[in-house]
């Protein structure tokens, strides 16, 4: 169920600091105020009520279907995903060509870019040192979920 406020919450981007970050979506106490906002017409009041950026909301659209993985190795280096990164995986998304996915290969998880071309399927690394993994048919490939974001923290 979608919360009754617009899904693009703030008209700010992450680089417009400093803005407070909220650990949880902020509960609000004046719902009538919100309900009176005409649909499709963003009011400046929206910004006032949601006075914080919520990283959970930014990264997680389907909470029940979202999981986090830790990345090991350098096969996705050129996609900007490096050893030790955490990635957000959304299982509710139908995997599409060119998306980064988590797949199960030989009983292990692998993070690769999904390539569908001329009936064939490939998992491609984003690093010339790694060869693509090819599948004759879609049915041979088990995709666990679609990677929707990456999280990296520099200071502990």
């Amino acid at each position: 169920m979608q919360p009754p406020f617009p899904s693009t919450p703030a008209h700010a981007t992450l680089d417009q600091s400093p803005l407070a970050l909220t650990p949880e979506p902020l509960p609000y106490t004046s719902p009538l105020f919100l309900c009176s906002i005409p649909a499709g017409f963003p009011s400046p009041a929206t910004d006032y009520i949601e006075d914080g950026l919520d990283l959970n909301e930014y990264l997680v659209r389907h909470k029940a279907a979202s999981f986090m993985f830790k990345v090991q190795g350098h096969s996705m280096r050129d996609a900007g995903i490096v050893d030790g990164d955490k990635v957000v995986v959304d299982r509710s998304i139908e995997p599409q060509h060119n998306q980064i996915v988590i797949a199960v290969v030989d009983g292990e998880y692998t993070i690769k870019r999904l390539y569908r071309k001329n009936g064939g399927v490939e998992l491609r690394s984003e690093n010339p040192a790694f060869k693509p993994i090819c599948f004759k048919a879609e049915s041979q490939l088990e995709i666990w979920g679609v990677v929707v974001g990456v999280v990296r923290r520099y200071v502990c």
Partner: protein, 434 residues
Amino acid sequence: MTLDASRHPPLFALVDVNNFYVSCERAFNPRLAHVPVVVLSNNDGCAVARSNEVKALGVKMGAPWFKLKDLAREHGIVALSSNYTLYGDMSNRVVSVLREFSPDIEVYSIDESFLRVETLVHLHGDATAMGHVMRHRIRRWTGLPVCAGFGATKTLAKFANHLAKKNPVFDGVCDLSSMTDSERNGWMAKIEVGEVWGVGRRIAARLETMGVRTVLDLATTDVKALRIQFGVVMERTASELRGVSCLELEDLADPKQQIMASRSFGSMVRDIAEISEAVSWHIDRAAEKLRSQGSVAGAVYVFVQTNRFRQSDLQYNGGVVVPLPDVSDDTRSLTTAALTGLRHIFRKGYQYKKCGVMLMELTVKAQRQETLFDDVAARDRAAKTMAVMDSINRVWGRGTLRSGAAGGSKRWAMRSENRSPRYTTQWDELPVAK
């Protein structure tokens, strides 16, 4: 379009996860996919969940692990310690997917929920179609396999679920309400009466002496006679099998598996202190029930909910399973566990409508044979620990090493030698992708 509930006869769904604990483990460990898997209770005592392969080997629920070790070696059974943190989180995910199908939901146990769906099935065509959408979505979103049963009463929904699970012809979804009478009776005649919700083994044996062997027998027995012999609960069960809905959502909890205590607040509550009071009170009641039936609990589930009918309010539903270091029927340790869980799930600023607790992993107190063995082992270990502690203290000075009891937490004492990572709740235990 407005939907008036009174114009629709009741329709219940019972959705549950197949081999729940095992399925949670398999959702994150692809190597477990086709191997026999058991999950063991607290302290690795006995089997509390079995994969189909293990069931096929004849391993019974509750079988003590030390008796299974030979069989396990022979057939390569993978035994895992229970990972309640993971199961609790996965349970919440399943429930939140189900909430999108109907706001009228009763979380009956950690792996099964009842839903009222009569005004909502048309959105999917019919109940069977709805069941398949639920099945597919939960499978896709969480990786867990579920079965769905539909019926005009809770007892029928539960029976339908049983049919869906045991008979491949249903492909995991069975709707009794759309069957013809003869079709339905045909299935009821095939299944033993002991499979009916609320009919235990002992009652089944007594029923059999009256010639009531199958579900159909029970459904066609004179309810008055049942009432005289067995009381009002059995009368109600038989009526429900005939399609007369007697049980609303949240009316009955299965005394054998879980004890549930929950209630809505009189008015909306925002304060953790007030909720804590309510949770303690629920534990009091649940623990009393636990002791009166002579059981001990292995884990406590605590949950809070906002008011789903106040759509203008921001909604939050939290729940967590807190395993106990040792099985207990002691109100104090149960309360400690519940309040620890509450602090974990409580979020400030929401208006809460309801809270509750569920005592889980119940075992009969008098039958704690394997625990007796464990106690001996634990005592040995404790004695060794004390000896080590004393020698360290002798060398490094008194008080270098102290017992953890002062800190209140005895989690260190819990034996879980082969617990899987807490994949979904701990930063340093996430699954790894290469």
